[in-house]
């Protein structure tokens, strides 16, 4: 009798695998930090994070390729464009109840993706956008040069290093902000908007700041995604990525920035490792099964540990 399935552990012991997982996990940590700011600390349900990621990444790609800007000039400008998009979406819709706002944001993200698919003159449509990363590759080679000889064939290692430095800096900054009186106002809005309003806080202004910062984080994640793939195409920005972000958020724990990195590492290890399960099934069924496993894990988690790995239980159960 042949075994029903086999896991080839070879893949899991290779450096390639872990570097790949590390880059993805870092990228989606930054992506999900934005969700944490919105969902965990402001009480805004943002289902459009993949849209902000797309706007950032495409703005960067278009500025570099079509407008022939330097990558280093394009990055801050693209970030500002994503933030402006956040304000533009938020201004008319943040007055809506949280669930309606969630619907608006998911529609927004889909509009962005369809525009990327169809504005071929700018985005290259489904053929995608290539060649925006020359300046990064120079930097990447320089970093590789600093590393020991034995690691120099690890082409993605510089990106891994840079993405996790970015994760550390951004997590630190967000934690500082959260401990400031500004962060306290956000938490008050999450608890009860009317109470915050009655105490003189301009709730809409704070929500707009929250969404603009989340959009900036989405854009930054978009740059790392683009540099990782060396290629921009609409399918990298499907809504499922926002939901992977939410899975990371719940796994790590609501209202904890440190939990985001943890959740991201676990989810991406799971998602990537399950590629190597050998099942007597067609490839697309195995791909679907990966998400089934993640879904079951999430249900079990919510049932037994709703605060996630490092979230605070009090903040989950003490809602009026």
């Amino acid at each position: 009798m042949s075994p029903v399935f086999a896991v080839s552990l070879d893949a899991l012991t290779s450096a390639d695998f872990w570097i790949g997982v590390g880059v993805l996990a870092g990228t989606y940590t930054i992506f999900t930090l934005g969700l944490q700011l919105n969902v965990g600390f402001t009480g805004i349900i943002n289902f459009g994070q993949a849209g902000f990621m797309a706007i950032g990444a495409y703005a960067m790609g278009i500025l570099v390729i079509r407008a022939e800007w330097s990558l280093w000039a394009a990055l801050p400008v693209a970030t500002l464009i994503a933030m402006a998009a956040g304000v533009l979406i938020g201004l008319p819709s943040l007055r809506l109840r949280a669930d309606y706002f969630a619907i608006v944001t998911i529609a927004f993200a889909e509009i962005v993706r369809y525009v990327a698919q169809n504005a071929r003159g700018l985005t290259g449509g489904n053929q995608g956008l290539l060649g925006f990363d020359d300046q990064w590759l120079d930097v990447s080679d320089t970093i590789l040069g600093w590393l020991p000889e034995s690691l120099q064939d690890q082409f993605l290692l510089p990106l891994l290093i840079v993405v996790w430095i970015a994760v550390a800096i951004l997590t630190g900054l967000l934690m500082l902000l959260q401990r400031s009186p500004w962060g306290r106002v956000l938490r008050a809005i999450r608890e009860d908007e009317d109470a915050a309003r009655a105490l003189g806080k301009n709730v809409l202004a704070y929500k707009l700041q929250s969404i603009a910062l989340a959009a900036a984080l989405g854009a930054i994640a978009g740059y790392f995604l683009a540099l990782n793939l060396s290629f921009l195409s609409p399918e990298s920005f499907e809504p499922q990525f926002t939901f992977i972000g939410f899975t990371i958020l719940i796994l790590g724990g609501l209202a904890s920035y440190v939990g985001v990195a943890l959740g991201s590492l676990i989810i991406w290890t799971l998602l990537e490792a399950t590629r190597f399960i050998d099942l007597p099934l067609a490839a697309e069924k195995v791909a679907a099964l990966r998400f089934v496993i993640v879904g079951i894990a999430l249900i079990v988690l919510v049932a037994f540990r709703p605060q996630g790995i490092v979230g605070r239980r009090e903040e989950m159960v003490l809602r009026d």
Binding site: E191, A195, L199, G200, K201
Partner: protein, 256 residues
Amino acid sequence: MTDELLRVEGVVKRFGGVHAVDGASFDVTAGSITALIGPNGAGKTTLFNVVTGFARADGGEVVYDGRRVSGRPAHAIARCGMVRTFQITKALAAMPVIDNMTLAAPRQPGEHLTGVIARPLAARKREREVRERARELLSRYGLEGKADDYAGTLSGGQRKLLELARALMAEPRMVLLDEPMAGVNPTLGARLLEHVHVLREREGTTFLLIEHDMEVVMGHSDRVVCMAQGRVIADGEPEAVRSDPRVIDAYLGGTA
């Protein structure tokens, strides 16, 4: 009127065809404790919402401290010094009691992103002042032992006290209390009323409160405004309002 702090003039608020507030007019003297009474559905809470900017009036105007505030957003009105509490307390349950308090303090540069980045020292200094004031108020209200607990763990009465204390952190000239005694045990209730009097005497704070308990209304307010069906039907000294036949009618279910 010599020293009126708040003037409500012909305020109308409709919900569809229902006139919840239907041309209500009265004013509140600075430094007074004014009670707003009336049977259920008289439009008291809706009027509170209009006055504090939580609902937009369909007609009439609200003038606070000589400035027209109707049409302005709630947070802007609160910053003018008119702070409200809610009928159902809005303790920020998943935040510690002390954070509930410090949140309410005005003039904190650290509440703005620019201030967090550009003026961290000023923010920290203000935070120290605010914390000290918060501790002081909490101990005055017998909540000092609860400072670090989540507000969600407080009893109903303690939440009412916290809401009042929190409103005071905002340094108001006028406090609007929506049924402050509802669901509060008599001991805590008596303490709450005592605090209201002390504040009025010491700091000249003006109070407008919605209250159903007639003993509280008669014993603690300088003036009583009675609403029924969206209008003010009586306005004057507590004794005069109590014996007003229109008021008695309204409470007995007749139409005034």
